[in-house]
């Protein structure tokens, strides 16, 4: 277990990167606190796996340093870093039995046979494969193989960190939930530093204490699930987290009022003159359909998703989503929307700006 520090880290797959565009991972400074569970969330191709592979030492960064507990490991081999990593697609040693697969990392590090036997039994139980321990790995389903990969990742107790690269992609939904719970309890039990890469927001939000959102090779926000929900620092975070994502509305802002296509609305904070692309971000959960005040909308359709309803409407020609309670009725006279001022964020060039309290 260790604290992992990324110092000025950046990576490019080109030998001579010219501009920032060439970097798959843009310059990054971050400390992964010891014993914390992080989720690394982002769309495919945003640099998540690159970052993970740099931490585990499978990739050497183009610039910057990586420190484990303040020891520079940038040039250390994967083996020396003592990291466990689980990949997106199952990697099993086909010719070995399930038991040997699980024992392999321990054997390679010279653990005693007695310890190996105990530990393998324990892990076998954890991944629910006790009965199959003596089976050959080859004939198993993708599910089972991925469970073995997970088990191999968890088998060593002394690792510095556990890295997961979208490990549950190939697993059945119900098993997914179960395995995630097990990972979580494993974390609570042993307190490993864990980094979990995913593009599934539910997975990220349920697994992690802190979620790191990446976009276009850059970390755009690090925070608790609640922070990400209430104060997305970047419009991408707003879009990406939440279902449906945050509404982003072009506007101009003057003091405490915002102007959207000629209509005005009040904000909870005061802003100085803003230059650049100014947008308001408001989550569908904080938008209300009304028949009185607010901005004019045209309701397109209503989707009932069970716990609540999603209203898809048209606001000055662009789409706006509204979440209403399951029991609330929607009448044809409701042609306006009102925003909860406390939950309206103001974005300049996609980044959130903080105003001054009124």
């Amino acid at each position: 277990m260790a604290k992992i520090t990324l110092d000025n880290l950046a990576h490019s797959y080109f030998p001579n990167p010219q501009s920032e565009e060439d970097f798959a991972l843009k310059e990054l400074n971050h400390v992964w606190a010891d014993g914390e569970a992080y989720a690394l969330l982002g769309a495919s191709g945003c640099g998540k796996s690159t970052l993970l592979n740099i931490i585990s030492g499978l990739l050497h960064p183009s610039q910057g340093r990586i420190l484990f507990d303040d020891v520079d490991v940038t040039d250390a081999s994967t083996a020396d870093r003592n990291i466990a990593q689980v990949f997106q697609f199952p990697v099993v040693y086909d010719t070995m039995t399930v038991r040997d697969n699980l024992a392999f990392p321990l054997k390679n590090r010279g653990a005693t046979p007695q310890y190996i036997a105990e530990r393998v039994q324990q892990i076998g139980k954890m991944i629910g494969m006790e009965a199959e321990l003596n089976k050959r790995a080859r004939g198993l389903t993708a599910d089972a193989k991925q469970k073995i990969s997970l088990g191999r990742g968890m088998v060593r107790e002394d690792v510095n960190a556990l890295l997961f690269d979208e490990p549950l992609t190939v697993i059945d939904p119900h098993m997914k939930w179960e395995l995630r719970t097990q990972l979580k309890s494993l974390h609570n039990q042993f307190g490993h530093t864990m980094i979990y890469v995913t593009h599934d927001q539910t997975e990220a939000l349920t697994f992690a204490d802190k979620v790191v959102v990446m976009f276009d090779g850059r970390v755009v926000q690090i925070g608790t699930p609640q922070e990400l929900f209430e104060r997305p620092e970047h419009t991408f975070v707003g879009y990406f987290i939440g279902s449906p994502g945050m509404n982003v509305i072009p506007a101009s802002v003057d003091g405490m009022t915002a102007n959207v296509h000629g209509a005005t609305l009040r904000l909870s904070q005061s802003f100085d003159a803003l230059s650049g692309k100014v947008e308001l971000g408001v989550r569908p959960e904080f938008v209300r359909l009304t028949d009185g005040e607010g901005l004019p909308v045209k309701v397109r359709r209503v989707e009932d998703v069970g716990r609540h309803k999603i209203v898809r409407a048209d606001l000055f020609g662009s789409e706006i989503n509204i979440v209403t309670g399951e029991d609330e009725s929607i009448s044809p006279d409701m042609t306006r929307v009102a925003f909860d001022p406390a939950h309206v964020n103001v974005y300049v060039d996609d980044w959130r700006t903080e105003g001054t309290a009124a």
Partner: protein, 289 residues
């Protein structure tokens, strides 16, 4: 559900039947025909039953050739398979040198058999051949025309030169199909180089290696042209392989009956050994824990 019956569909199989009949069945049957009859010319044939088979089975000459043939194939497989795998493991995985290596490696495979024989026949000559002359100059007593050991070494080295590339290329294709994640996982698991080979590369190469073993076995077991060109089966009959012997018997001595019986047994031996290889290797592959 009721099945549609349409006997005319048999006609669709006809082209294949005709093709196979002319390319395989009929020629084989003529051989079978010769093997159970005796002829004294004039197109007169007499029923001989299994006489030729019995005679061939009693014939030391055939057993000797079979022994030499088995030894030759065994040596070829033992050298070419590991060597081919070793070369494949050391070939570059990407970049300019990949195509360079592939081209260089395929060159021997493109040379016609008798040219290969001629190349080595000249290469090994003590008077003008680069190899033979150099060895002689180094004081090594090398002469493939008079020394059986030198003759064997020559044809084995020649075959290794000619065909190891095939094994290497097949093994290389097998290696290339292994996803990077396997190597990465192995690094994470701190597997040694040997373990990576033993538990990742070798199992993943099993399929192509089986093809390599079968191809190399069949080809080496039927080898004719190259040793015929280099040594002509000599000195004496020390490098007379089965097919050389067969041709001598059938075309040289015109003993059609025994030669036909010989070829049928030859064919069955190849079939049998290929089947054994295939079964053993697929079972190795499928074995459950």
């Amino acid at each position: 559900m009721e099945k549609t019956v349409n006997q005319k569909a048999w006609f669709l199989v006809l082209p294949v039947l005709v093709l196979v009949a002319f390319s395989a069945v009929i020629p084989l049957m003529t051989v079978v025909n010769y093997s159970v009859q005796d002829t004294f010319g004039n197109n007169q044939f007499f029923w001989a039953g299994l006489e030729w088979f019995k005679e061939m089975l009693r014939d030391d000459r055939m057993w000797d050739a079979l022994g030499r043939q088995l030894l030759f194939s065994a040596i070829i497989l033992l050298i070419q398979i590991p060597l081919g795998v070793f070369i494949a493991l050391n070939m570059p995985k990407k970049g300019f040198w990949v195509s360079f290596c592939l081209v260089v490696m395929s060159l021997p495979l493109l040379i016609p058999w008798n040219v290969v024989g001629t190349i080595w026949q000249i290469f090994g000559r003590v008077d003008i051949g680069l190899l033979g002359y150099t060895l002689a100059a180094l004081g090594i007593d090398y002469n493939y025309t008079s020394d059986p050991f030198a003759a064997w070494v020559t044809i084995i080295v020649m075959d290794v030169w000619h065909w190891t590339s095939l094994v290497a290329l097949l093994a290389y294709a097998g290696l290339k199909s292994i996803p990077d994640a396997y190597y990465q996982a192995a690094k994470i698991d701190q597997a040694s180089r040997w373990n990576v080979f033993r538990y990742i590369e070798l199992p993943k190469m099993m399929g192509v290696l089986m093809i390599a073993v079968l191809l190399r076995f069949m080809d080496s077991f039927m080898i004719y042209t190259e040793p015929f060109v280099v040594t002509g089966g000599g000195p004496g009959s020390t490098t007379t392989m089965l097919s050389i012997d067969l041709v001598k018997m059938a075309l040289g001595q015109f003993d059609l009956g025994p030669a036909a019986a010989f070829s049928i047994m030859y064919f069955l031996v190849i079939l049998l050994i290929s089947w054994v290889f295939y079964t053993v290797m697929t079972n190795l592959d499928k074995r459950e824990g």
